[in-house]
Amino acid sequence: MNPSMITSPAIFSVDGMVGIVFLIMVAITVTGGLIACNSERLVRAVAGLIVCFVGVAGLYYFLNSPFVAMMQILIYVGAVAVTISFAIMLAAPEEQKKVGSGGPLVGPFGFATSALLTGSLSVLVIKTDWKSFEKINSGTIKEIGLNLLTSYSMVFELVSIVLLIAILGALVIARAGREG
Amino acid sequence: MILEKTKSGLLKMFPEPEPVETAVEETSEEDEKKNASKEPRKNGVVERDYSVHGYHLDAQVSPEQLLEAVAILDDLEFFIESITGVDWIKEDQLEVVYDFSRYDFDTCRVVIRTRINRAAPVVPTITGLYAGANWHERETHEFFGIKFEGHPHLIPLLLPEDADFHPLLKDFKA
């Protein structure tokens, strides 16, 4: 018997259910990601992206950070995905062309590249011995807020400026396109 | 007031001094009946008794004069009431009737008629002067088969799109 099986919880125990839920989350993430990068219709790709992000939010929850998980849903699903869908509706009224029409080699080449990348990274991850601190974060907003306004205040300010410029830039670019 | 103005304006279109009738209702009912049955009325302006006929001026013009007459009314701020046709089958003629009136207490209802041959019913459109004539002309076109030359969109309005019959003609049999 594999010794690690002894420590593993029974499937129908409470801890086992937690594990199952985690696996579901992983499945959701991967499925969503696959839909997002493979589907023929862009709207479905956005739907896949949403599914993927909900899954990622679930992962964050398992990483003891409900705040970031909720922010993930709020920002990605509520804002980014909506923006992308709007852009699709404004710019691509007809259904999307097939994916691999750029050339016969694009699909296999893309797959090979990404598979190589993922594979090598995974090997790297497994080979590395991560030294663990096991200092589990408490997940409260208070600490995040304090750090955001002390250690990372400069970055915080910069991000807000970036966002402001992004809003203005988006407006200017979109308006210019309309009048031009 | 406006009655005089309109009348003089319309009369200018008929330069011959003689044949124009100007007296109020000088033709009695019997005469009219005779007129109707004998021969078509001559072009000209007639002042009618409002209490009997419900309008003041009755001008019959030739199709070529139509735009001119309507332009006179347009200048005098008449609004378009309706356009319709009458099929005088015995005389082998179609009559197009234009009703005009004014948004005013100085009431003046003017009827402009033009008569055309039943065989080739063509009159110029007045949509250039009155945008609202559009539907009225389309309706008259589909009911009587009168062609309004220059009309931008002369397709059936009330009848089905493929209707090729003209139900208000007297020889129409359902």
Binding site: D15, I73, A81, I141 | -
Partner: protein, 331 residues
């Protein structure tokens, strides 16, 4: 964490049942209320006071065939109503009905509700896009731009309350209001905040709730006199039923949030009966106001709606935020 997860699963089941029952009987209440306002009897044939009407309607809806229009994106067409229902039910999980009746209290409860509420917009967008109907498409674009526009003042107003409470925990926010009726956040003078603008915050929040739940006078998404039935034009059977349930579940959640943030949650002014009843009383009074408003006012225009948000509600709520921040700094 492990035990609570089981709780969550049980709670989800309860939440689905609660949402379904609420949707069914709020429809009944809405129809009866509208009828009374219009001096009609309303549904009164099936059962006493017509109380059997909702289950019968449900059976009728379920018995019907789900028609998918030709040319529709089938996957998204079916996914959209589910996506409308799912976040609404998830939000119920974290709402505290009293200090003991709560499925999973989170320290980011408010954030969770907003996060899931923002998913609702996507379902409308998918419904409109996938059903290949121009009316549905226009409606969903409207509904989403409306949802985005009203999320902002709603969030800003919520932030003022969070600033006063110093917590995003819904339980904590209610606890801070529970001292007496005058400590409710809506009352300006004696409460926690001393913020004289709180009644206006309440009004802003309430307006935003109306708009976020697509209720009259902000029901631009399903403006039946212009867009036929809006995003659910092509939906019949349970697809329509799920949208309907989602709408009413959203109303309940919006009202719950209003009660918790402004009306003291389950805290009772006189203490006649246990807190949860007070919570429900406040909740259903608010929902009755929703119904009352719907049957009184005409619909706004889409630009009137956006103007209201961008030109009135957002400036006012921002001012309110600054004012509150100033007050908290001073006192």
């Amino acid at each position: 964490m492990s035990l609570t997860l089981l709780n969550v699963i049980v709670a989800v089941v309860i939440a689905i049942a609660f949402a379904a029952a609420n949707a069914a009987y709020l429809v009944w209440a809405e129809r009866r209320g509208a009828a009374r306002i219009q001096r009609r009897p309303g549904p009164n044939i099936n059962g006493p006071f017509g109380l059997l009407q909702p289950p019968l309607d449900g059976i009728k809806l379920m018995a019907k065939q789900l028609l998918i229009p030709g040319g529709a994106d089938k996957v998204l067409f079916i996914a959209a109503p589910v996506l409308a229902m799912f976040p609404a039910i998830m939000s119920f999980v974290t709402i505290p009905f009293s200090d003991s009746i709560v499925a999973k209290n989170m320290n980011v409860g408010i954030l969770m509700i907003f996060a899931f509420a923002s998913m609702g917009g996507m379902s409308l967008l998918f419904a409109g896009w996938s059903s290949r109907n121009k009316y549905a498409m226009m409606s969903s674009v409207r509904a989403v731009s409306q949802a985005v526009a009203y999320e902002i003042p709603m969030l800003i107003t919520t932030i003022t309350v969070v600033m006063i409470a110093g917590s995003m925990d819904l339980m904590e926010i209610v606890h801070q209001q529970s001292a007496s009726i005058l400590h409710w956040n809506i009352f300006p003078l004696l409460g926690n905040s001393h913020n004289i603008l709180m009644p206006f915050s309440f009004l802003i929040f309430f307006t935003c709730t109306l708009a976020e739940t697509n209720r009259a006078p902000f029901d631009l998404g399903e403006a039946e006199s212009e867009l036929v039935a809006g995003f659910h034009t092509e939906y019949g059977s349970m697809g329509f039923g799920l949208f309907f349930m989602g709408e009413y579940a959203n109303i309940v959640i919006g009202s719950c949030m209003t009660v918790i943030l402004f009306l003291g949650g389950w805290s009772c002014p006189f203490g006649l009966f246990p807190g949860v009843w007070w919570f429900l009383l406040k909740l259903y009074l608010l929902i009755a106001t929703f119904i009352w408003i719907r049957w009184t006012f005409p619909r706004t225009t889409i630009y009137g709606l956006l103007n209201l948000s961008w030109k009135i509600l957002i400036p006012l709520s921002l001012f309110n935020l600054l004012f509150t921040a100033g007050l908290i700094k001073v006192f």
